[in-house]
């Protein structure tokens, strides 16, 4: 099984590139498409109706979308052992993280008018492939300068110019996907670590106040030690962290978590 992650800022053309890649790959390979977003998306529906391949939609909601992606990857792999290629599209927002995994292929779709490449973090610097989109909006000279700027922050990347309207260039991405390594059973590793999530704000604190945030953190930590951290979903929440926030906000009871309940008995 091959695992391909597409990341890029909203509107950079990820879905268009993926669309053409799926078109090229779907006859020879069994595909699965997972779409991650924060609040809402219809891309999963679009891909499934148009290309008749199985898809899943994952909305991060209260969670950081990259954390959520990392949490969900093992499940996606487990449920799709029979597929040849899994294509995952991330929400890719704050540029602090990158969702890429070492064992798979990481593709950054980067829009030429989205600003200077050195403002991007690991989403660009750790990509295996940088798909430069919307190149037709700028001059050849500016395109060449942009290309040089990308290589100055990620000299290892393979650069591909793509056109999301016509599909030009996607063929090179398809080739790279075909040549990417197979995921063996065993550990997957993130290319980049996630941000530290160690304050009361991470547990849903809203008041900007030192004491409030400290107290919230201590309460959150206490609960964190009680929950199984398996994100099993049996409490009705997507993840243990989301459950903890709900408990702290008074929207859920501790005992809704089956593990906490069992421990008590």
């Amino acid at each position: 099984m091959k695992f391909v992650i597409f990341a890029g800022t909203p509107g950079s053309g990820k879905t268009s590139v993926i669309k053409y890649a799926i078109q090229e790959l779907k006859t020879d390979f069994k595909l699965f498409f997972a779409k991650f977003d924060c609040l809402n998306t219809k891309d999963d529906q679009f891909i499934s109706e148009r290309y008749k391949i199985p898809v899943v939609k994952k909305l991060a909601g209260e969670l950081c979308p990259d954390h959520y992606t990392a949490l969900e990857i093992p499940k996606i792999i487990k449920e799709n052992r029979d597929k040849d290629i899994i294509i995952l599209e991330t929400a890719g927002l704050c540029l602090r993280c990158s969702p890429y995994i070492k064992e798979g292929l990481g593709i950054n779709v980067l829009d030429v008018i989205s600003g200077s490449p050195d403002c991007y973090g690991p989403i660009l610097t750790q990509a295996d492939i940088v798909a430069v989109s919307k190149g037709d909006l700028i001059s050849q000279a500016e395109r060449e300068i942009f290309r040089d700027n990308i290589l100055s922050v990620n000299s290892q990347a393979k650069l591909v110019e793509v056109n999301g309207l016509t599909g030009e260039g996607v063929i090179d991405i398809v080739e790279a996907i075909k040549a990417s390594p197979e995921i063996k059973t065993g550990k997957l590793t993130l290319k980049h670590s996630m941000p530290s999530a160690i304050c009361g704000y991470c547990y849903g604190n809203k008041t900007i106040d030192e004491t409030a945030v400290q107290q919230r953190y201590l309460k959150g930590k206490e609960l964190k030690n009680l929950v199984p951290n398996l994100n099993c979903g049996k409490c009705g929440f997507k993840s243990c962290n989301e459950f903890i926030r709900a408990v702290l906000d008074g929207k859920a009871k501790k005992e809704q978590c089956l593990f906490i309940k069992q421990e008590k008995n």
């Binding site: 008018i113 190149g135 037709d136 909006l137 700028i138 001059s139 050849q140 000279a141 500016e142 060449e144 300068i145 290309r147 040089d148 393979k158 650069l159 016509t166 030009e168 260039g169 063929i171 090179d172």
Partner: protein
């Protein structure tokens, strides 16, 4: 290492209906200018794209492009610093907030070349031969007029990119001397392919490739008569540029001076 290009060859692929194109091979030699013409959606840009990525039967059209009668190795296709092909796209506007001079030195750097004030001066001088309103090195790119932007871009492609093959996709050409522009682009034995329906540009060529339904259907040799017609239209255009400058300068224009130099 610089590859000397004597000619490129297009081997037939298929059209939109998967029918094989009806030609043996099309050869374009060093120094030739070729127009690509056809209706919207006929496959003009696809042909340019095939050439740009030096297609080896791996694009939609299945065409194969040879250089000096040989297939092209992968490195040559993807390494930008060894790129054989420069292209001018439909968009002829700049987006970078920077002076003309600094922009050109950045582009030199991106092309793997050293800072060269003499070359930068030349690029600007040559651009000024194409446009009516002179560009100065300190001007901001974003403040250039449409004609100035196009002129600078053309001169930049000719002098900084220095690729032996130049592809032009329906450039907007208001406000520039088109014949002069083509002269600058095609100098020193380059191969130029241009998608256009502008009589000046289309007739200022050696031949025209006609595209229909995604396939090449005809190759027309540009006749002397057509070259004359193109030249006439260029004269009219340039005369228009002069009048534009007069309007800009607040002058009155009440007569047309008819003088069109014959084709050389």
């Amino acid at each position: 290492m610089k590859t000397e290009i004597e000619k490129i060859t297009i081997l037939p692929g298929v059209n939109k209906f998967e029918e094989k194109e009806k030609f043996e091979r099309i050869e374009i030699k060093k120094g030739e200018i070729v127009a690509i013409v056809g209706q919207t959606g006929a496959g003009k840009s696809q042909l340019l794209y095939d050439i740009e990525r030096l297609a080896q039967g791996d694009t939609k059209s299945k065409r194969v492009i040879l250089i000096n009668d040989k297939r092209v190795d992968k490195k040559l296709r993807f390494d930008p610093k060894r790129k054989l092909i420069a292209s001018l796209a439909q968009s002829m506007n700049f987006l970078t907030d920077i002076s003309v001079k600094d922009f050109l030195s950045l582009h030199l750097k991106a092309r793997g070349k050293r800072f060269n004030p003499k070359l930068i001066k030349e690029v600007i001088e040559e651009a000024n031969e194409i446009t009516g309103e002179p560009i100065s090195p300190e001007m901001n790119l974003l403040n250039l007029s449409g004609g100035q932007s196009r002129a600078l871009m053309i001169s930049d492609v000719a002098n900084v990119s220095i690729s032996p093959i130049i592809l032009i996709d329906e450039i907007e050409n208001a406000g520039i001397d088109k014949e002069k522009a083509m002269q600058i682009l095609a100098e020193e034995g380059k191969i130029v392919l241009i998608v256009t329906h502008d009589p000046v540009l289309a007739f200022n060529t050696d031949k025209r490739i006609v595209v229909k339904n995604g396939g090449i259907v005809k190759i027309l040799k540009t006749t002397l008569k057509e070259k004359g017609i193109g030249h006439y239209f260029n004269w009219v255009g340039n005369y228009g540029l002069e009048i534009r400058e007069k309007i800009r300068g607040g002058e009155k224009v009440e007569k047309v001076e008819i003088f069109c130099e014959p084709v050389k």
